[in-house]
């Protein structure tokens, strides 16, 4: 295996994308709305398409605003339909995001002449190409860094999400644990919910350009779920989820370079490998976790 600067950048970008998703994912997992990440990451498509059609430019800001709006709309519609439509939350999510996703596809087909949006690109992203889009060349300690656009955008999203978590930790905690009490105290759980959902939408858009939507969904859920197996404190869970997110990015990229050669193939998609590694980490932790792990439960039942 040979390692170049570009590999470092791929890992950094992967880790930033994974971290920004995992930070918010903790609260999706705890609110038992994990699939909301899935729904929103699909539903933002019409927002992106509309932003493009209106501004006829792929400027990030318009796309983020479009995505955030559609993210909130997804959350609002999901709640309405499950309240008034006699269906449970999962089904109403399915109704909302498939419809919105389809509208997005139609819009893109209409605008297909001008848009270079390729379905496989949306699914798997193009993380291997992102380091080539260098927009900033700072010099530090006599070394010149070639900072890619994706790293800057995702870095900003990580800072945004981290700031949100730190500022509203108390509100997120109480509205996830006991939304009714929060509401009676004047901490509007719905407001916290919609803030969280719009951040999920923005993060999704920022991340899936780099790593693809499948990884976004995986990183929203798998690292927090792994962390939850290891701890019973909320802040430790958040920290651990970031650790697992970064580990998935690093070992995902290394595996993408190394593993295929064992079977005589060239290297494979880093994004795909990141999701696989995070899944394997979850499986491992599920067995060996000290309190909630299968092994310790088996041991407890057998010998105590």
């Amino acid at each position: 295996m040979s390692w170049y600067t570009i590999d470092t950048w791929i890992v950094v970008i992967g880790a930033l994308a994974a971290t920004s998703c995992a930070l918010l994912g903790n609260f999706l997992v705890l609110r038992k709305m994990s699939m909301m990440g899935d729904a929103i990451s699909h539903a933002v498509l019409p927002g992106l398409a509309l932003a493009f059609l209106v501004t006829s430019a792929r400027t990030s800001l318009a796309m983020f605003i479009g995505a955030a709006l559609v993210g909130v709309i997804t959350a609002v519609f999901t709640q309405w339909i499950s309240r008034f439509g006699k269906v449970d939350e999962g089904a109403s999510m399915g109704i909302v995001f498939t419809s919105l996703f389809a509208i997005g596809l139609l819009l893109i087909v209409q605008a297909a002449d001008h848009v270079d949006l390729d379905p496989s690109c949306v699914l798997y992203g193009a993380i291997e190409l992102t380091p080539l889009d260098v927009i900033w060349r700072p010099t530090l300690f006599g070394l010149e860094f070639h900072v890619p656009r994706a790293a800057l955008v995702l870095g900003a999203i990580v800072v945004l999400n981290l700031g949100f978590l730190i500022s509203f930790f108390k509100e997120l905690r109480i509205s996830s644990f006991d939304p009714e009490l929060a509401t009676t105290m004047g901490i509007n759980s719905n407001l916290v919910h919609y803030l969280l959902m719009s951040l999920v939408a923005v993060t999704t858009v920022a991340a899936f350009e780099a790593v693809g939507s499948i990884i976004v969904i995986a990183m929203l859920i798998v690292p927090p779920a792994t962390a939850l197996l290891l701890t019973d404190r909320l802040w430790i869970m958040v920290v651990l989820s970031v650790v697992f997110a970064c580990a998935s990015a690093l070992f995902g990229h290394i595996s993408a370079l190394v593993v295929p050669s064992w079977f005589g193939f060239d290297d494979t998609s880093t994004s795909g490998m990141m999701a696989v590694v995070s899944g394997l980490l979850f499986a491992l932790i599920m067995f060996v976790a000290p309190r909630h792990g299968l092994l310790s439960k088996w041991f407890y039942n057998k010998f105590l």
């Binding site: 108390k170 905690r173 644990f177 006991d178 009490l181 009676t184 901490i187 939850l228």
Partner: protein, 290 residues
């Protein structure tokens, strides 16, 4: 429906002597209410014409209630009578179809600091990664306001409350490690930390051990001594006259409300519970024994 037949006639007659002779027309009642405007600010809870419906079906209908200060109030009624809905409507947790709820004469929105809430134990996920102390400290969040950190003082207050419910040793445990009764006491400690003037508790006695039940009763009595008003949704008819000095019998409408010894009788229970005779006989026996 004739006004004289409305359940509010019973209710108001029980609460304000002033109303009793002038219940025949709606107009006169309203005139009298204006005279009472000042007194309402001393009244912990006043409910007028409250109706709540789910999917266009009313769950509670035309509720009029006034709860005097410093009483332990039991809300009693059969399953599906709307007991929980009633207190959730008071707390603005469910939308009201009509009517108004006043806390010390003001809207809930303005007086929320004076209100404490103990939801049903089953309403939260006890596997959530928080410690017992974390949960109790949530009682201070309302006072802290948005974006403020939980202070050392909040934590000290929370430990004090945990001491009062006998759970100090469990402060750093994760909440799933508690028994049902201990979980209920955690919720009560959180309510104590809220330091409210009026408390709403949704079935605090449901499936708790005898020790916890005694602890809760003692706590309710302490709160009463401090002049707090506690409104409790209660299931167990056999303990109503023991625990509560004010009773609201509810079955979609208020069947009767007032001091327990006046209201909690076989006649009213039959009107509340309808044909469930075995239950009634049980309750009657209990009343006879007390």
């Amino acid at each position: 429906m004739l006004w004289a037949e409305s359940p509010r006639a019973f209710v108001r007659k029980d609460f304000f002597g002033i109303f009793s002779l002038e219940m025949n027309t709606r107009n006169k009642v309203i005139i009298k209410e204006k005279d009472l405007e000042l007194d309402l600010s001393l009244q912990p809870l006043t409910i007028r014409d409250l109706t709540v419906s789910y999917n266009r079906k009313p769950v509670i209908w035309d509720i009029d209630l006034s709860i005097p200060k410093g009483y332990l109030v039991g809300i009693v009624g059969p399953n599906g009578a709307g007991k929980s809905t009633l207190i959730k409507a008071c707390l603005d947790l469910v939308p009201r179809t009509s009517g108004e709820v006043m806390i010390y004469g003001k809207t809930y929105h303005k007086e929320r600091r004076r209100v404490g809430y103990v939801p049903q134990r089953e309403s939260v996920d006890w596997d959530f990664p928080v410690s017992v102390l974390d949960v109790v400290a949530m009682g201070t969040y309302g006072r802290l306001g948005w974006m403020r950190r939980v202070s050392k003082r909040s934590k000290a207050l929370s430990m004090e409350a945990l001491d009062r419910v006998g759970l100090v040793d469990y402060a750093n445990r994760q909440i799933s490690q508690l028994s049902g009764g201990q979980q209920q006491r955690t919720f009560l400690a959180r309510a104590l930390v809220q330091d409210a003037d009026i408390y709403f508790m949704d079935e605090p006695f449901s499936s708790v051990d005898a020790a916890t039940e005694r602890a809760i009763v003692q706590l309710l009595k302490d709160l009463k001594k401090l002049g707090k008003t506690v409104i409790v949704v209660h299931h167990d008819l056999s303990t109503v006259s023991q625990y509560f000095d004010w009773t609201v019998l509810l079955n979609m409408r208020v069947v009767s409300a007032g001091p327990t010894e006046e209201v909690f009788n076989q006649d009213n229970l039959r009107r509340t519970y309808g044909g469930k005779l075995t239950l009634l006989t049980q309750a009657a026996n209990e009343i006879a024994r007390n």
